[in-house]
Every structure is written in C-alpha cells, then in structure tokens.
C-alpha cells in the first residue's frame, strides 16, 4: 500500500511535467495552429540555464528560477520573430513554420551540445534532497514542489483564459482568426505572446525535471514526444486537458513499468501504443474543445 502511494506521488509529479510540456504545445497550437516540436528543446535549454545559474554560479533558487524564466520568455519571443513571423507575413503554407521550427530544434540541440559537451550536468532540486511524509503520502521534496508549481501554473493559465479580457482575446483567435482580427485583436501580438509564454512553460518543465534526469542535450526529444502524447490524450482544445493527459500518461507509464509482467524495455512502448490508440479512437482527446457559439 505504501509502495503504491509512493508510486502515485512520483507518477503525479512526472505527470505534471508532461502536462507542462503539453501546455507549452497548447499555448502555441491553439491560437496559431502551429505544432512546435521544439518545445522539448526549450525544456532542455531551460535545464541548462538552471545548471549555469544554480550549479555553476550558485544563485539562490528563486533568483535562478526567475532568471531562467525571463530567458525563456526572450527565447520564445525571438524564435517567433525570427523563424515564424517572416513566414506568416509572406503567407507561406501552414506547414512552413512547423518545418522551420523543426530546423530550430536541431539548432538548439546542437548549440547546447557544442557549448556544454555531451555529458549530463547536475541541477540541484528546489528544496534540497529529502523525503517528505504527509500521512500515508510520502515522496521526494522535489515531487511535491513540482506538483505545487504545476498547480499554480495551471490555475494561473486557467484564470487568464477564463476571467481576463486579454485571455478571451486569445481564445477568440483560436476559434476564428479572421473574425478576431476584424474585432480588433492584434494577431501578431497574440502570436508573439503565445510563443514567449509557451517557451517559459516548457522551460519550467525542463527546469523542474532536471534534478531527476540531469541536464543533457538529448533530453528534449523524449519530453517533446511525451508532452505531445499527453496533449493528444487530454485533447488539444482545453487547458485542463493538457494536465489531465499528462497525469493519465504518467500513471499508465509508471504503473506498467512497476506492475505489468513485461520487460522494462517493452514497457517503454506502452505510451506509444496509448498515443496510437487515442489518435485512432478518440482524436479529440478526453476533453473536447469549445466550439464557436452561434
């Protein structure tokens, strides 16, 4: 029983990380229709940012975290400016930005591999190493930290979309770009902001997961695939869907590894099978997007 609960805590924590990556996709896909496979690479960049700020320069955690987030906002904004905006302005086909971002994925990864080498680099956890026990629930400090931060981020994003006018303008762009533009929503600004915040959210995921997996230049691709799987499971249309999908994915993943009588290597295939099944059976995901009201 204790074993189960402990697993539940660690699975919830990784589910939160997947959920954040999924949110990184969603924030960009919703208003622009662009699927940005480079979100995993953004998470990797933030993990290295955290390594430099926290391990090398030994900044206090909140300062380092804030710095990394600011850096990620800037990187997301720059990525949009340099590789997406020119294409959108030229009226290129919708596939073009996806391809240029795929190119950026390689650029990010190789730059880091040149700058930091191929060895994994340590990143300290937020509250130190240690175990926290809360009645029958027990787990690493970092797991609880991840859960708490993710809760805050999702609440914030949900509040933004549901309760503020700016958030509604984002939703309006997602539902009908043209109509939103005619109503005075500035598309360029919405796109730039969604890339900046998407990068920050994905970066947060990378920073939170890095104490467990170490910052490594190849860490991006697995995160990108898991994040997308989470998004497909939860549904691309809703913010809550990203978190729900992440949690379902992580629970299935960790419980098969722990309890199913199949070799650990094959268990790695389980999320992929889940992704395929969801794509085929329920491509809208568990939660449906909101349609435009007539």
């Amino acid at each position: 029983m204790n074993d189960l609960l402990e697993l539940l805590v660690s699975a919830t924590a990784s589910g939160c990380v997947y959920g954040l990556v999924a949110l990184g996709y969603l924030l960009i896909t919703r208003p622009t229709g662009i699927v940005n496979f480079a979100v995993g690479e953004w998470a990797m960049l933030a993990a290295f940012g955290a390594y430099v700020a926290l391990s090398r320069m030994e900044m206090p955690y909140p300062v380092g975290m804030a710095l990394v987030l600011v850096l990620m906002l800037a990187i997301g904004w720059l990525t949009e400016r340099l590789t997406v905006r020119p294409l959108v302005e030229k009226g290129a086909p919708p596939l073009a930005p996806v391809l240029s971002l795929l190119g950026m994925l390689v650029v990010f990864r190789e730059s880091v591999s040149i700058g930091f080498g191929a060895d994994p680099q340590p990143v300290p956890p937020a509250l130190g190493f240690g175990r926290f026990e809360f009645g029958p629930l027990a787990g690493a400090y970092q797991s609880f930290f991840i859960i708490a931060i993710t809760g805050l981020v999702f609440t914030g994003v949900w509040y933004f979309f549901e309760r503020t006018l700016t958030g509604k303008s984002f939703e309006a762009v997602a539902i009908d770009r043209r109509a939103a533009a005619l109503m005075g929503v500035r598309l360029g600004r919405v796109t730039a902001a969604s890339f900046a915040v998407g990068a920050a959210v994905a970066g947060l995921a990378g920073m939170l997961v890095s104490p467990n997996v170490s910052a490594h230049y190849m860490m991006g691709m697995p995160l990108a695939v898991q994040g997308f799987t989470a998004l497909v499971i939860g549904g691309v249309g809703r913010v809550e869907g990203a978190l729900l999908g992440g949690l379902v994915l992580a629970l299935v993943e960790q419980f098969t590894v722990r309890y199913a009588p199949i070799p650990a290597g094959l268990a790695m295939g389980v999320p992929l099978v889940l992704l395929i099944v969801f794509l085929l059976v329920r491509p809208t995901g568990l939660l449906k997007a909101r349609e435009a009201r007539a």
């Binding site: 699927v35 590789t83 020119p86 294409l87 290129a92 919708p94 596939l95 073009a96 996806v98 391809l99 240029s100 795929l102 190119g103 950026m104 994925l105 390689v106 650029v107 990864r109 190789e110 730059s111 591999s113 040149i114 691709m221 695939v225 997308f228 799987t229 497909v232 070799p263 290597g265 094959l266 790695m268 295939g269 992929l272 099978v273 992704l275 395929i276 794509l279 085929l280 491509p283």
Partner: protein, 321 residues
C-alpha cells in the same frame, strides 16, 4: 524508346563509376545512392502527396531486418525472402495507413512518429530474433544463381534499385495517380469534388512509397552486413525530410540534389567543424524554409528562366533596333 536509352546510359555511367572507386569511396558511393533512393520515394510521399509521415526510415529498417531474419533464421531462399519482405512491408504499411490517413495534418505525423519509435522499441527488445541493441551481424548475401554478387557488382545492384525506383515514381507522377496525389495535397475537398477518392489515394501513396523504402532497406542490409537499432533511429528521418526540403519538395531532381548535398556536406565539413555538421543542417533548413521555399532546385529554375528571359530580350532588341 528515347527514355529507355537514357536509362541505359545512366545505368552504365553510374555503374561504371563503381569499378574505379577504392573501398572507402565505394562505401560512400553506395550509401549516397541509397540516400538518393530513399529521398526519391520520400519526395513522392511528402512532396507530391503532401503527407508528413515520419515512418519512412522505419520501413527502411523493416526491409533490412526482415530480409536478414527470413534468410538466416527461417532459411528461406533469397527470392522468397525478398517477396516475403515486400509482402510484409505492404501489409504493415496498410495497417498503418488505413487508420492513420484518416487523421488530418499533424496527427498523421504523430501516429507515424509513434509507429517508428515503437519499431525501435521492438528491435531493442526482440531478443534473439532481432539481436537486441547489438542488432544482427555475421550474415552475407546468398549466391544468386550460384554467383556471389560482391564488390562493384553489388554497387551495380544498388544503381539498378535507384533507377528502378526513379523510373517507377517518374511514371507514377505523370499518371492519373500522380495528379490525384497533387490534388489531394493542394486541396482535398476540391479533389473529392472532382471525383478523386482522397483516402484511397493517400493509402496507396503511403503503401507504395513505404514498400519502396523497404526494398531499399533490403539492399542496404548487405552493404554493411550488419543491422542495428541505432542505424534506424529518429535522427535519420529528420535528415531525410531536410534533404527533400533543401533540394525542393515535390521535384525528383530536388530530392536528388538535396540528398547529394546533405549526404556529402558532413564529409566535406567534418575536417573544419568536426561532428557539429548537424548544426549546419538545422540552420540550412531554417534558411531554406524562410528564404527559398522551393529549395535548391528553385534557385536553378530561376537561373534558367532568367537566362531565357535575357536571351528573349536580346532577340527582341535585334528584331526591333
């Protein structure tokens, strides 16, 4: 008739090269020919039919692995092993394509990406059948009619594969099927309204190109006489995509140029920048997508049409001084 002569000349020239190369150059040359073959079929799938599928390299791997498994473990004679491999590739492609082509746009990319990764997982966990992470080694091509096809003669076989793939896709592109593919790529709704069965077109294009990739994989299996999961990893399919885009998507000549440039580039660059040629690839890709969406072949077209334009002007001036 004229085109047949052209193909024979091309076959002779490309094969002739094989007989003057040293062993290292032969290796580079064979792999270049295989990359071009793969790029040609991927160009049909991505460039002409507009399907963003990440499973092409997985089918290359399926072809390579299955032919080896059929020959060494099931002791099938070579012709039967080849037929069985093609049948397997077609069957798997149909299994992927029939449900996956229902999915629009990026969902197809994801389903095929998941399929490709699943393939790697199966390879790693396949025990003695796939040889796990080490893959399969210690096998060689059985004699064909009592003749051991080795050295430059095997390169000739690769040349024939390349030309066969090229000829088949060239014919296909100019048939009703090629037009249906383009129509489905550019505007599926309009294509359906014109009487094109969009789903059937997509499934057929996916199956044909995947089977061609499997065929190339079979030939590849006896180039290095070893197959392992690392060869068929995700990186390679990105490289294939980059080749087609940098060369110019939708044009066979573009696929050939893209594959040649991107395959040879690391060999040229590695003395200068070591193993960081992937960074150059990424930058190249971004720049091409933004500034030259029609690829290197687009640059060539512009050069040609510019020259024709100038010549026409010169003639015009001569006629009306």
């Amino acid at each position: 008739m004229k085109s047949l002569v052209r193909y024979i000349v091309a076959a002779l020239v490309l094969s002739g090269v094989a007989f003057v190369l040293g062993s290292y150059q032969t290796d580079v040359y064979r792999k270049l020919l295989l990359w071009i073959t793969l790029a040609l079929s991927y160009n049909f799938l991505f460039g002409i039919c507009g399907q963003v599928a990440f499973s092409h390299f997985a089918f290359y791997g399926i072809g390579a692995y299955s032919v080896v498994i059929f020959i060494t473990q099931l002791a099938l004679p070579l012709p039967l092993a080849v037929l069985a491999t093609v049948a397997l590739c077609v069957a798997l492609a149909l299994v992927v394509a029939i449900p996956a082509t229902r999915l629009a746009g990026f969902y197809l990319a994801l389903a095929t990406l998941a399929f490709a990764q699943l393939f790697i997982v199966v390879l790693n966990e396949g025990g003695t059948v796939t040889g796990g992470t080490g893959g399969l080694t210690n096998y060689r091509l059985p004699d064909i009619f009592g003749v051991a096809v080795t050295g430059p003669w095997y390169t000739v076989a690769i040349v024939l594969l390349l030309l066969g793939t090229f000829a088949m896709l060239w014919r296909l592109e100019r048939s009703w099927f090629g037009r249906a593919c383009r129509a489905v790529r550019d505007n599926p709704d309009a294509a359906v309204a014109m009487g094109v069965d969009a789903r059937l077109t997509k499934v057929l294009a996916y199956t044909i190109t995947s089977a061609l990739a499997g065929l190339a994989g079979m030939v590849y299996a006896f180039v290095d006489n070893t197959v392992n999961p690392a060869i068929f990893s995700q990186e390679s399919v990105f490289q294939l995509l980059f080749m087609v885009i940098v060369g110019g998507a939708g044009r066979p000549a573009g696929a050939i140029i893209g594959a040649t440039v991107l395959y040879l580039l690391p060999l040229v660059l590695s003395p200068i920048i070591g193993h960081h040629h992937a960074l150059v690839f990424g930058l190249f890709m971004v720049l091409v997508v933004i500034f030259q969406p029609r690829g290197l072949i687009g640059l060539w077209d512009r050069f040609i049409s510019g020259r024709q334009h100038r010549q026409a002007q010169v003639q015009l001036r001569k006629a009306h001084p």
